[in-house]
Amino acid sequence: MARLLNAARTPTHCAPAADRGVRALAPSLLLALLALPELLAVPAAPAVAQMNDLDATIDVRAIASDGERSYLDGGLGLLRFDENHQGLRIGELRLGYLGQFADIVHVTVEAVSYADGDRLPLDPTEAFVEIRPFPYLGWRSNVKIGAFYAPISLENRLQGWRSAYSLTPSAINTWIGEELRTIGAEYDLDWLGRQRGHDWEFGVGAAAFGWNESAGTLIAERGWALDDRQTTLFGYAADLGVGPTHRPRPFYWDIDRRAGYYVDGNAKYLDDLELRALHYDNRANPDVYEPALNDYAWHTWFNSAGARWTPAPDWTVISQWLQGDTCVAGLLFCWQYGSEFLLGSWQYGPDLLSARYDDFQTHADHPAFIAGVEQIGHAWTVAYERELAHSLSVLLEAMQVDSTMPARLELGERPGAVERMVQLAVRWDINIYH
């Protein structure tokens, strides 16, 4: 398969290298939009409020796993830690900076180390400037510039884009952490209805970005996985050695010089319900070949939707769905991929108990024996967290992933695999400077 996949990448040609009711909304929206330049401008003589907050997380884990050889180690196992990587491990060492200047300008940098030999020992996963004026007549504009996550995950709410409910995020949010990053600009317009006495709030947004033409590679070569390792901005995205096609791929590489986009919308009902939807298209030109990577630009697009429901103060239910396509080599090879999950979480004092079911599939539109993977699978995850102190918690997570991937035959493995992993983590959040 690997030879065929590499052969498929041989270039055939090289191309050159965004007070109630609708009646009340309309005029206030108009005013808000007219005032947009003023909103986006930093006040000429602002009350200089400045804040620098630096904090860190140390996450150390004891791991027991019977997983197949992990894709991080050249296999087609879907877990971060396989049976050859058990015992005491670094979950992550995280460093986060939040700076706030001139009241409405915010700077965020998140960096992480997984101590697994990536290019840099500490590398950012996000780095962006956000301009967030005070609301005006219930409307607020928000601009982000830099490298950041698209507003897809309803699960990853902790600083550093980590899951608030388990150590390992869902398959959908695993993939977003691995291959998607907005390196560009995003504009959001929110209507803060609750500030005006309504029960609903709405928001729309759009972004233009570059440097994300490798997105889809992992879906095609490995399929979905479940791990909490986010790709860093200067690290390797698909390098992590999927099967014999192991090769480095810097995350930031821009292959076709063409900007991608996404548009999104969200709605919130009181504290009870949040809905999100997003359409993503990296608009990569799959005809463009990059000799330095020995790869094409991957044209990847998808739709995603999700809901977070809080039926009672201590209960949270989250569901996300994502379905899309990725094509390479002039649309010669295309894969359809999709996943969905359902998560339930119960908070009881300092205890948080969560359970999640993931379902995922990857289907090649071309004959499967030529290139890439076909995959079908599901996973169960159960997690328990106990907050020992304000900044210290212990987490226990057990998961089982059942998957079938014919491509494993080429590695001398059975197509079907049941992988289990138990992680016990101690997580310490440290405020370094405040």
Partner: protein, 240 residues
Amino acid sequence: MRNNAQRRAGTHVNLRLRRASQSVNWCSVLCAALALLIATVARTADLSISVLDAHGRGVAGLVLVAMPDNAAARKRIGRVAVMDQINMQFVPDILVIQTGSSVDFPNSDQIQHQVYSFSAAKRFQLSLYAGHKYPPVVFDRPGLVTVGCNIHDSMLGYIYVTDSPYFGRSDAHGQLTLHNLPSGSYTVTAWHPRLEEGSANELHLRTTVVESEPGTVLFQLRRTVPISMPPHESKKWLDY
């Protein structure tokens, strides 16, 4: 000489008369005040307000205000209330204050907040801060003021500003007792942001307070009210 002696004697008489007159005045004032106090105490009564849901259970947390028809009974007592910020929530999430009172907004979180309101009754902005940085904000107009944090949209607080000095919130049993209300006619209001009954989430009842006779008012709701969410966000959650 005589004239001088008479003038001196007359002066002494005048002084004695003036002192006597002053004593009479002070006595009058004290007596009048005492009489007024007695009269006032005698002309007041307690008012017990109950809020029950459709199942007959007490509803906690509702803002309850007894507004006297007599404007003279709406004496202003300026106070300072506190709305803290704890675990990325306003605590308490609902305040009821009298017009002219102030609210202090300390931030007890480790992270900074940026408090604002664009409600018609009070517009204000507090630039990014932690701890106790700003003096209390004066609320000089009656009405509902919704406060938020521009960094954390999930933070939402309500300040109900009323001209009446007689207010409070229902307890865990749905009860509130207001003490020493002057006799007269009142409009009793029940409000909560999630009270989806009446107009603008408000219910009104009329009642008359009769001196020395404890009164009762009952708000019987048609449905169960999902009252304030207790703090759930114990972590540094962000809006990704």
